[in-house]
Subunit: 235 residues, 2 copies
Protein backbone atom coordinates (compact mmCIF):
# COMPACT_ATOMS: atom_id res chain seq x y z
CA UNK A 1 0.00 0.00 0.00
CA UNK A 2 1.36 3.37 -1.01
CA UNK A 3 1.17 6.26 1.37
CA UNK A 4 1.33 9.85 0.26
CA UNK A 5 3.47 12.61 1.66
CA UNK A 6 0.33 14.61 2.27
CA UNK A 7 0.04 13.19 5.75
CA UNK A 8 2.92 15.47 6.68
CA UNK A 9 0.81 18.47 5.78
CA UNK A 10 -1.78 17.70 8.43
CA UNK A 11 -1.34 19.25 11.89
CA UNK A 12 1.51 17.79 13.89
CA UNK A 13 0.61 14.72 15.88
CA UNK A 14 -2.82 14.22 14.32
CA UNK A 15 -1.72 11.26 12.23
CA UNK A 16 -0.32 9.45 15.24
CA UNK A 17 -3.49 9.76 17.27
CA UNK A 18 -5.60 8.69 14.27
CA UNK A 19 -4.74 5.19 15.46
CA UNK A 20 -7.32 3.93 17.95
CA UNK A 21 -4.89 2.03 20.21
CA UNK A 22 -2.59 5.07 20.39
CA UNK A 23 -5.52 7.27 21.28
CA UNK A 24 -6.57 4.87 24.05
CA UNK A 25 -3.01 4.73 25.24
CA UNK A 26 -2.85 8.55 25.34
CA UNK A 27 -6.08 8.59 27.36
CA UNK A 28 -4.36 6.53 30.00
CA UNK A 29 -1.91 9.36 30.52
CA UNK A 30 -4.43 12.17 30.78
CA UNK A 31 -5.80 13.46 34.03
CA UNK A 32 -9.22 12.05 33.24
CA UNK A 33 -7.97 8.64 34.28
CA UNK A 34 -7.59 9.95 37.80
CA UNK A 35 -8.57 7.01 40.00
CA UNK A 36 -6.93 3.63 40.16
CA UNK A 37 -10.20 2.13 38.90
CA UNK A 38 -10.25 4.42 35.85
CA UNK A 39 -6.70 3.52 34.99
CA UNK A 40 -7.38 -0.20 35.38
CA UNK A 41 -10.46 -0.03 33.16
CA UNK A 42 -8.47 1.84 30.53
CA UNK A 43 -5.57 -0.60 30.77
CA UNK A 44 -7.99 -3.49 30.27
CA UNK A 45 -9.63 -1.82 27.29
CA UNK A 46 -6.27 -0.97 25.74
CA UNK A 47 -5.19 -4.61 26.09
CA UNK A 48 -8.47 -5.80 24.58
CA UNK A 49 -8.14 -3.33 21.69
CA UNK A 50 -4.66 -4.63 20.92
CA UNK A 51 -5.90 -8.23 21.03
CA UNK A 52 -8.86 -7.36 18.81
CA UNK A 53 -6.46 -5.77 16.35
CA UNK A 54 -3.90 -8.57 16.42
CA UNK A 55 -6.12 -11.66 16.66
CA UNK A 56 -9.80 -10.78 16.17
CA UNK A 57 -12.70 -11.24 18.58
CA UNK A 58 -12.87 -15.05 18.60
CA UNK A 59 -9.20 -15.59 19.27
CA UNK A 60 -8.56 -14.13 22.68
CA UNK A 61 -9.89 -14.76 26.19
CA UNK A 62 -10.39 -12.62 29.29
CA UNK A 63 -7.25 -14.32 30.62
CA UNK A 64 -5.28 -12.90 27.68
CA UNK A 65 -6.69 -9.46 28.49
CA UNK A 66 -5.89 -9.59 32.20
CA UNK A 67 -2.40 -10.95 31.51
CA UNK A 68 -1.64 -8.22 28.96
CA UNK A 69 -3.04 -5.48 31.21
CA UNK A 70 -1.21 -6.79 34.27
CA UNK A 71 -4.44 -7.00 36.22
CA UNK A 72 -5.74 -10.04 38.08
CA UNK A 73 -8.70 -11.88 36.58
CA UNK A 74 -10.66 -11.19 39.75
CA UNK A 75 -10.10 -7.48 39.21
CA UNK A 76 -11.08 -7.79 35.56
CA UNK A 77 -14.42 -9.40 36.46
CA UNK A 78 -14.98 -6.62 38.98
CA UNK A 79 -15.19 -4.16 36.09
CA UNK A 80 -16.39 -6.36 33.24
CA UNK A 81 -18.57 -9.44 33.84
CA UNK A 82 -17.68 -10.82 30.40
CA UNK A 83 -15.53 -10.30 27.34
CA UNK A 84 -18.63 -9.13 25.50
CA UNK A 85 -19.34 -6.35 27.99
CA UNK A 86 -15.73 -5.22 27.77
CA UNK A 87 -15.82 -5.16 23.97
CA UNK A 88 -19.15 -3.31 23.93
CA UNK A 89 -17.59 -0.56 26.02
CA UNK A 90 -14.69 -0.54 23.59
CA UNK A 91 -17.16 -0.04 20.73
CA UNK A 92 -18.50 3.02 22.50
CA UNK A 93 -14.96 4.33 22.87
CA UNK A 94 -14.28 3.68 19.19
CA UNK A 95 -17.41 5.61 18.30
CA UNK A 96 -16.35 8.55 20.48
CA UNK A 97 -12.85 8.39 18.98
CA UNK A 98 -14.20 8.41 15.42
CA UNK A 99 -16.57 11.31 16.08
CA UNK A 100 -13.74 13.29 17.64
CA UNK A 101 -11.39 12.67 14.72
CA UNK A 102 -13.90 13.30 11.97
CA UNK A 103 -15.34 16.50 13.36
CA UNK A 104 -12.53 18.95 12.73
CA UNK A 105 -13.12 22.59 11.93
CA UNK A 106 -13.44 23.29 8.19
CA UNK A 107 -14.17 26.97 8.60
CA UNK A 108 -13.31 29.23 5.68
CA UNK A 109 -13.04 26.32 3.26
CA UNK A 110 -15.22 25.85 0.20
CA UNK A 111 -17.50 22.81 0.13
CA UNK A 112 -15.08 21.10 -2.27
CA UNK A 113 -12.03 21.81 -0.11
CA UNK A 114 -13.82 20.71 3.04
CA UNK A 115 -14.97 17.48 1.37
CA UNK A 116 -11.45 16.66 0.18
CA UNK A 117 -9.97 17.42 3.59
CA UNK A 118 -12.55 15.24 5.35
CA UNK A 119 -11.98 12.42 2.89
CA UNK A 120 -8.20 12.64 3.37
CA UNK A 121 -8.65 12.19 7.11
CA UNK A 122 -11.16 9.39 6.61
CA UNK A 123 -8.98 7.46 4.15
CA UNK A 124 -6.02 7.74 6.55
CA UNK A 125 -8.30 6.66 9.41
CA UNK A 126 -9.40 3.51 7.55
CA UNK A 127 -5.93 2.62 6.36
CA UNK A 128 -4.42 3.00 9.85
CA UNK A 129 -7.22 1.26 11.77
CA UNK A 130 -8.05 -1.39 9.14
CA UNK A 131 -7.48 -4.43 11.33
CA UNK A 132 -9.44 -3.19 14.29
CA UNK A 133 -12.25 -1.98 12.01
CA UNK A 134 -12.47 -5.53 10.65
CA UNK A 135 -12.91 -6.88 14.19
CA UNK A 136 -15.40 -4.16 15.09
CA UNK A 137 -17.49 -4.89 11.99
CA UNK A 138 -17.48 -8.56 12.98
CA UNK A 139 -18.65 -7.75 16.50
CA UNK A 140 -21.29 -5.33 15.18
CA UNK A 141 -22.79 -7.97 12.91
CA UNK A 142 -23.49 -10.16 15.93
CA UNK A 143 -25.18 -7.48 18.01
CA UNK A 144 -28.90 -7.40 18.63
CA UNK A 145 -30.92 -4.89 16.58
CA UNK A 146 -31.23 -2.56 19.57
CA UNK A 147 -27.50 -2.62 20.16
CA UNK A 148 -26.84 -2.06 16.45
CA UNK A 149 -28.93 1.09 16.52
CA UNK A 150 -26.89 2.33 19.43
CA UNK A 151 -23.72 1.88 17.41
CA UNK A 152 -24.99 3.29 14.15
CA UNK A 153 -22.36 5.88 13.41
CA UNK A 154 -23.67 6.13 9.89
CA UNK A 155 -26.88 7.53 11.26
CA UNK A 156 -25.11 10.30 13.15
CA UNK A 157 -23.01 11.10 10.10
CA UNK A 158 -25.94 10.87 7.66
CA UNK A 159 -27.89 13.46 9.63
CA UNK A 160 -24.87 15.76 9.64
CA UNK A 161 -24.38 15.37 5.88
CA UNK A 162 -28.12 15.58 5.16
CA UNK A 163 -28.36 18.89 7.01
CA UNK A 164 -25.46 20.20 4.93
CA UNK A 165 -27.19 19.02 1.73
CA UNK A 166 -30.52 20.55 2.75
CA UNK A 167 -28.71 23.76 3.59
CA UNK A 168 -27.30 23.89 0.08
CA UNK A 169 -30.63 23.50 -1.64
CA UNK A 170 -33.21 25.55 0.23
CA UNK A 171 -32.81 27.88 3.16
CA UNK A 172 -36.10 26.73 4.68
CA UNK A 173 -34.85 23.17 5.02
CA UNK A 174 -31.69 24.15 6.89
CA UNK A 175 -33.16 22.89 10.09
CA UNK A 176 -32.62 19.94 12.37
CA UNK A 177 -35.03 18.00 10.15
CA UNK A 178 -33.34 17.31 6.85
CA UNK A 179 -35.59 16.13 4.03
CA UNK A 180 -36.16 12.45 3.35
CA UNK A 181 -34.39 12.90 0.01
CA UNK A 182 -31.36 14.51 1.66
CA UNK A 183 -31.13 11.74 4.26
CA UNK A 184 -31.34 8.99 1.65
CA UNK A 185 -28.67 10.77 -0.40
CA UNK A 186 -26.42 11.05 2.63
CA UNK A 187 -26.81 7.33 3.42
CA UNK A 188 -26.05 6.38 -0.18
CA UNK A 189 -22.90 8.53 -0.38
CA UNK A 190 -21.63 7.36 3.00
CA UNK A 191 -22.21 3.81 1.84
CA UNK A 192 -20.14 4.51 -1.26
CA UNK A 193 -17.19 5.75 0.77
CA UNK A 194 -17.42 3.16 3.55
CA UNK A 195 -17.77 0.21 1.21
CA UNK A 196 -14.90 1.38 -1.02
CA UNK A 197 -12.55 1.90 1.94
CA UNK A 198 -13.66 -1.35 3.59
CA UNK A 199 -13.01 -3.34 0.41
CA UNK A 200 -9.63 -1.67 -0.16
CA UNK A 201 -8.12 -1.42 3.33
CA UNK A 202 -10.11 -3.75 5.58
CA UNK A 203 -11.06 -6.74 3.41
CA UNK A 204 -8.18 -6.02 1.04
CA UNK A 205 -10.10 -7.09 -2.08
CA UNK A 206 -7.29 -8.15 -4.46
CA UNK A 207 -9.02 -6.53 -7.45
CA UNK A 208 -8.98 -3.16 -5.74
CA UNK A 209 -5.54 -3.57 -4.16
CA UNK A 210 -4.20 -4.33 -7.66
CA UNK A 211 -5.13 -0.81 -8.78
CA UNK A 212 -2.34 0.37 -6.49
CA UNK A 213 -4.00 3.69 -5.61
CA UNK A 214 -2.25 6.08 -3.24
CA UNK A 215 -4.30 7.35 -0.29
CA UNK A 216 -4.32 10.79 -1.91
CA UNK A 217 -5.68 9.33 -5.17
CA UNK A 218 -8.42 7.52 -3.22
CA UNK A 219 -9.39 10.71 -1.34
CA UNK A 220 -9.51 12.69 -4.59
CA UNK A 221 -11.53 10.05 -6.46
CA UNK A 222 -14.12 9.74 -3.68
CA UNK A 223 -14.39 13.50 -3.32
CA UNK A 224 -14.96 13.95 -7.06
CA UNK A 225 -17.67 11.29 -7.09
CA UNK A 226 -19.24 12.70 -3.93
CA UNK A 227 -19.40 16.26 -5.25
CA UNK A 228 -20.64 15.14 -8.67
CA UNK A 229 -23.37 13.00 -7.08
CA UNK A 230 -24.46 15.88 -4.85
CA UNK A 231 -24.73 18.15 -7.87
CA UNK A 232 -26.71 15.44 -9.65
CA UNK A 233 -29.02 15.03 -6.65
CA UNK A 234 -30.27 18.62 -6.85
CA UNK A 235 -33.77 18.76 -8.30
CA UNK B 1 -42.31 -1.81 2.27
CA UNK B 2 -44.12 -0.04 -0.52
CA UNK B 3 -44.00 -1.45 -4.00
CA UNK B 4 -44.61 0.59 -7.09
CA UNK B 5 -46.95 -0.18 -9.94
CA UNK B 6 -43.98 0.08 -12.27
CA UNK B 7 -43.29 -3.61 -11.94
CA UNK B 8 -46.31 -4.14 -14.14
CA UNK B 9 -44.61 -2.24 -16.93
CA UNK B 10 -41.75 -4.71 -17.18
CA UNK B 11 -42.08 -7.62 -19.60
CA UNK B 12 -44.57 -10.25 -18.52
CA UNK B 13 -43.15 -12.89 -16.23
CA UNK B 14 -39.82 -11.18 -15.66
CA UNK B 15 -40.72 -10.17 -12.12
CA UNK B 16 -41.63 -13.70 -11.18
CA UNK B 17 -38.35 -15.19 -12.34
CA UNK B 18 -36.38 -12.42 -10.60
CA UNK B 19 -36.77 -14.63 -7.55
CA UNK B 20 -33.87 -17.10 -7.29
CA UNK B 21 -35.87 -20.05 -5.94
CA UNK B 22 -38.46 -19.61 -8.70
CA UNK B 23 -35.72 -19.51 -11.30
CA UNK B 24 -34.20 -22.72 -9.92
CA UNK B 25 -37.62 -24.30 -9.85
CA UNK B 26 -38.18 -23.32 -13.50
CA UNK B 27 -34.81 -24.87 -14.40
CA UNK B 28 -36.08 -28.17 -13.05
CA UNK B 29 -38.78 -28.13 -15.71
CA UNK B 30 -36.56 -27.29 -18.68
CA UNK B 31 -35.11 -29.87 -20.97
CA UNK B 32 -31.61 -29.16 -19.69
CA UNK B 33 -32.38 -31.26 -16.65
CA UNK B 34 -32.62 -34.27 -18.90
CA UNK B 35 -31.16 -37.09 -16.84
CA UNK B 36 -32.40 -38.38 -13.53
CA UNK B 37 -29.09 -37.26 -12.00
CA UNK B 38 -29.53 -33.71 -13.29
CA UNK B 39 -33.02 -33.52 -11.88
CA UNK B 40 -31.90 -34.85 -8.51
CA UNK B 41 -29.07 -32.36 -8.28
CA UNK B 42 -31.46 -29.53 -9.10
CA UNK B 43 -34.04 -30.78 -6.61
CA UNK B 44 -31.37 -30.87 -3.90
CA UNK B 45 -30.19 -27.37 -4.76
CA UNK B 46 -33.72 -26.03 -4.83
CA UNK B 47 -34.36 -27.53 -1.38
CA UNK B 48 -31.10 -26.07 -0.08
CA UNK B 49 -31.94 -22.64 -1.55
CA UNK B 50 -35.30 -22.65 0.21
CA UNK B 51 -33.67 -23.65 3.50
CA UNK B 52 -31.01 -20.96 3.07
CA UNK B 53 -33.76 -18.43 2.49
CA UNK B 54 -35.99 -19.59 5.36
CA UNK B 55 -33.42 -20.44 8.02
CA UNK B 56 -29.92 -19.32 7.05
CA UNK B 57 -26.79 -21.43 6.53
CA UNK B 58 -26.18 -22.51 10.12
CA UNK B 59 -29.72 -23.70 10.76
CA UNK B 60 -30.22 -26.61 8.41
CA UNK B 61 -28.55 -29.99 7.87
CA UNK B 62 -28.04 -32.27 4.88
CA UNK B 63 -30.84 -34.36 6.38
CA UNK B 64 -33.20 -31.37 6.05
CA UNK B 65 -32.12 -31.03 2.42
CA UNK B 66 -32.59 -34.68 1.51
CA UNK B 67 -35.96 -34.80 3.31
CA UNK B 68 -37.23 -31.69 1.52
CA UNK B 69 -35.97 -32.89 -1.87
CA UNK B 70 -37.39 -36.38 -1.37
CA UNK B 71 -33.99 -37.94 -2.02
CA UNK B 72 -32.20 -40.42 0.24
CA UNK B 73 -29.20 -39.18 2.18
CA UNK B 74 -27.07 -41.79 0.42
CA UNK B 75 -28.09 -40.28 -2.91
CA UNK B 76 -27.38 -36.79 -1.62
CA UNK B 77 -23.82 -37.76 -0.64
CA UNK B 78 -23.36 -39.28 -4.06
CA UNK B 79 -23.64 -35.79 -5.57
CA UNK B 80 -22.47 -33.58 -2.74
CA UNK B 81 -19.93 -34.79 -0.17
CA UNK B 82 -20.95 -32.01 2.23
CA UNK B 83 -23.38 -29.18 2.83
CA UNK B 84 -20.58 -26.76 2.00
CA UNK B 85 -19.99 -28.25 -1.45
CA UNK B 86 -23.71 -28.12 -2.16
CA UNK B 87 -23.93 -24.49 -1.11
CA UNK B 88 -20.85 -23.55 -3.13
CA UNK B 89 -22.53 -24.93 -6.24
CA UNK B 90 -25.60 -22.92 -5.30
CA UNK B 91 -23.44 -19.80 -5.13
CA UNK B 92 -22.32 -20.45 -8.69
CA UNK B 93 -25.94 -20.82 -9.75
CA UNK B 94 -26.83 -17.59 -7.98
CA UNK B 95 -24.01 -15.85 -9.81
CA UNK B 96 -25.22 -17.18 -13.16
CA UNK B 97 -28.78 -16.18 -12.29
CA UNK B 98 -27.73 -12.66 -11.38
CA UNK B 99 -25.65 -12.20 -14.51
CA UNK B 100 -28.55 -13.41 -16.63
CA UNK B 101 -31.05 -11.08 -14.98
CA UNK B 102 -28.84 -8.01 -14.98
CA UNK B 103 -27.65 -8.26 -18.55
CA UNK B 104 -30.78 -7.27 -20.46
CA UNK B 105 -30.68 -5.42 -23.74
CA UNK B 106 -30.75 -1.63 -23.36
CA UNK B 107 -30.38 -0.90 -27.07
CA UNK B 108 -31.74 2.41 -28.31
CA UNK B 109 -31.87 3.88 -24.80
CA UNK B 110 -29.90 6.90 -23.65
CA UNK B 111 -27.32 6.35 -20.89
CA UNK B 112 -29.71 7.91 -18.37
CA UNK B 113 -32.63 5.70 -19.43
CA UNK B 114 -30.49 2.58 -19.44
CA UNK B 115 -29.12 3.39 -15.98
CA UNK B 116 -32.62 3.90 -14.56
CA UNK B 117 -33.89 0.71 -16.17
CA UNK B 118 -30.95 -1.30 -14.81
CA UNK B 119 -31.42 0.18 -11.34
CA UNK B 120 -35.14 -0.63 -11.39
CA UNK B 121 -34.33 -4.27 -12.10
CA UNK B 122 -31.57 -4.30 -9.49
CA UNK B 123 -33.75 -2.75 -6.75
CA UNK B 124 -36.50 -5.29 -7.48
CA UNK B 125 -33.89 -8.07 -7.46
CA UNK B 126 -32.60 -7.06 -4.00
CA UNK B 127 -36.05 -6.56 -2.52
CA UNK B 128 -37.28 -9.95 -3.78
CA UNK B 129 -34.17 -11.98 -2.93
CA UNK B 130 -33.28 -10.14 0.29
CA UNK B 131 -33.33 -13.15 2.60
CA UNK B 132 -31.28 -15.40 0.38
CA UNK B 133 -28.80 -12.56 -0.32
CA UNK B 134 -28.32 -12.26 3.45
CA UNK B 135 -27.42 -15.97 3.65
CA UNK B 136 -25.19 -15.78 0.60
CA UNK B 137 -23.30 -12.81 2.01
CA UNK B 138 -22.81 -14.78 5.23
CA UNK B 139 -21.46 -17.79 3.32
CA UNK B 140 -19.22 -15.54 1.18
CA UNK B 141 -17.61 -13.99 4.25
CA UNK B 142 -16.44 -17.41 5.38
CA UNK B 143 -14.91 -18.44 2.07
CA UNK B 144 -11.17 -18.58 1.50
CA UNK B 145 -9.62 -15.71 -0.45
CA UNK B 146 -9.33 -17.86 -3.57
CA UNK B 147 -13.00 -18.84 -3.38
CA UNK B 148 -13.99 -15.22 -2.75
CA UNK B 149 -12.26 -14.16 -5.95
CA UNK B 150 -14.18 -16.80 -7.83
CA UNK B 151 -17.44 -15.38 -6.54
CA UNK B 152 -16.59 -11.72 -7.01
CA UNK B 153 -19.55 -10.55 -9.02
CA UNK B 154 -18.56 -6.98 -8.33
CA UNK B 155 -15.42 -7.54 -10.33
CA UNK B 156 -17.33 -8.74 -13.39
CA UNK B 157 -19.75 -5.85 -13.07
CA UNK B 158 -17.01 -3.28 -12.39
CA UNK B 159 -15.22 -4.21 -15.60
CA UNK B 160 -18.45 -3.92 -17.54
CA UNK B 161 -19.21 -0.49 -16.07
CA UNK B 162 -15.60 0.66 -16.35
CA UNK B 163 -15.58 -0.13 -20.07
CA UNK B 164 -18.75 1.90 -20.46
CA UNK B 165 -17.18 4.80 -18.55
CA UNK B 166 -13.97 4.63 -20.57
CA UNK B 167 -16.06 4.54 -23.72
CA UNK B 168 -17.72 7.77 -22.71
CA UNK B 169 -14.52 9.65 -22.11
CA UNK B 170 -12.06 8.69 -24.82
CA UNK B 171 -12.51 6.49 -27.85
CA UNK B 172 -9.00 5.08 -27.50
CA UNK B 173 -9.79 3.64 -24.07
CA UNK B 174 -12.87 1.81 -25.29
CA UNK B 175 -11.01 -1.44 -25.19
CA UNK B 176 -11.05 -4.48 -22.97
CA UNK B 177 -8.60 -2.67 -20.67
CA UNK B 178 -10.47 0.10 -18.92
CA UNK B 179 -8.34 2.72 -17.16
CA UNK B 180 -7.44 2.37 -13.49
CA UNK B 181 -9.51 5.49 -12.80
CA UNK B 182 -12.56 4.05 -14.58
CA UNK B 183 -12.27 0.77 -12.68
CA UNK B 184 -11.95 2.50 -9.31
CA UNK B 185 -14.96 4.67 -10.19
CA UNK B 186 -16.99 1.61 -11.15
CA UNK B 187 -16.13 -0.13 -7.87
CA UNK B 188 -17.06 2.94 -5.84
CA UNK B 189 -20.44 3.39 -7.57
CA UNK B 190 -21.28 -0.30 -7.33
CA UNK B 191 -20.41 -0.14 -3.66
CA UNK B 192 -22.80 2.79 -3.27
CA UNK B 193 -25.69 0.87 -4.80
CA UNK B 194 -24.96 -2.47 -3.15
CA UNK B 195 -24.48 -1.04 0.31
CA UNK B 196 -27.63 1.09 0.08
CA UNK B 197 -29.77 -1.84 -1.09
CA UNK B 198 -28.19 -4.20 1.43
CA UNK B 199 -28.87 -1.81 4.31
CA UNK B 200 -32.43 -1.16 3.15
CA UNK B 201 -33.66 -4.58 2.02
CA UNK B 202 -31.27 -7.16 3.43
CA UNK B 203 -30.18 -5.84 6.84
CA UNK B 204 -33.30 -3.67 7.07
CA UNK B 205 -31.54 -0.81 8.86
CA UNK B 206 -34.41 0.85 10.77
CA UNK B 207 -33.12 4.33 9.97
CA UNK B 208 -33.38 3.66 6.25
CA UNK B 209 -36.60 1.66 6.46
CA UNK B 210 -38.15 4.64 8.33
CA UNK B 211 -37.70 6.80 5.22
CA UNK B 212 -40.40 4.63 3.65
CA UNK B 213 -39.07 4.94 0.10
CA UNK B 214 -40.86 3.16 -2.74
CA UNK B 215 -38.73 0.93 -4.99
CA UNK B 216 -39.21 3.46 -7.78
CA UNK B 217 -37.98 6.30 -5.54
CA UNK B 218 -34.91 4.23 -4.62
CA UNK B 219 -34.14 3.45 -8.28
CA UNK B 220 -34.48 7.12 -9.24
CA UNK B 221 -32.37 8.36 -6.34
CA UNK B 222 -29.54 5.91 -7.05
CA UNK B 223 -29.65 6.67 -10.77
CA UNK B 224 -29.45 10.42 -10.16
CA UNK B 225 -26.47 9.99 -7.82
CA UNK B 226 -24.80 7.55 -10.21
CA UNK B 227 -25.14 9.83 -13.25
CA UNK B 228 -24.07 12.91 -11.28
CA UNK B 229 -21.01 11.10 -9.92
CA UNK B 230 -20.07 9.90 -13.40
CA UNK B 231 -20.26 13.45 -14.71
CA UNK B 232 -18.16 14.60 -11.78
CA UNK B 233 -15.59 11.89 -12.44
CA UNK B 234 -14.75 13.23 -15.90
CA UNK B 235 -11.44 15.04 -15.88
Amino acid sequence: MQTTTNCDESPAGSTRTLRFVDWLSAELETEEASTKGDRRRLALKLAAARLLEDRGYDDFSTRDVSDAANVTRTALYLYYPSKQVLVLELLQDFQRFMMEKLRPSRKGMSMAEAALETNRTYVRFFAINARIILSIQYVRRNLSDAEKLQFDLNDWWAHKVARAISGRTTVQQRSSHPSKQALATAYALEGMIDSFLTELYVRRNPNLVALNLSEEAVAKLLTRLWLGALKGSEP
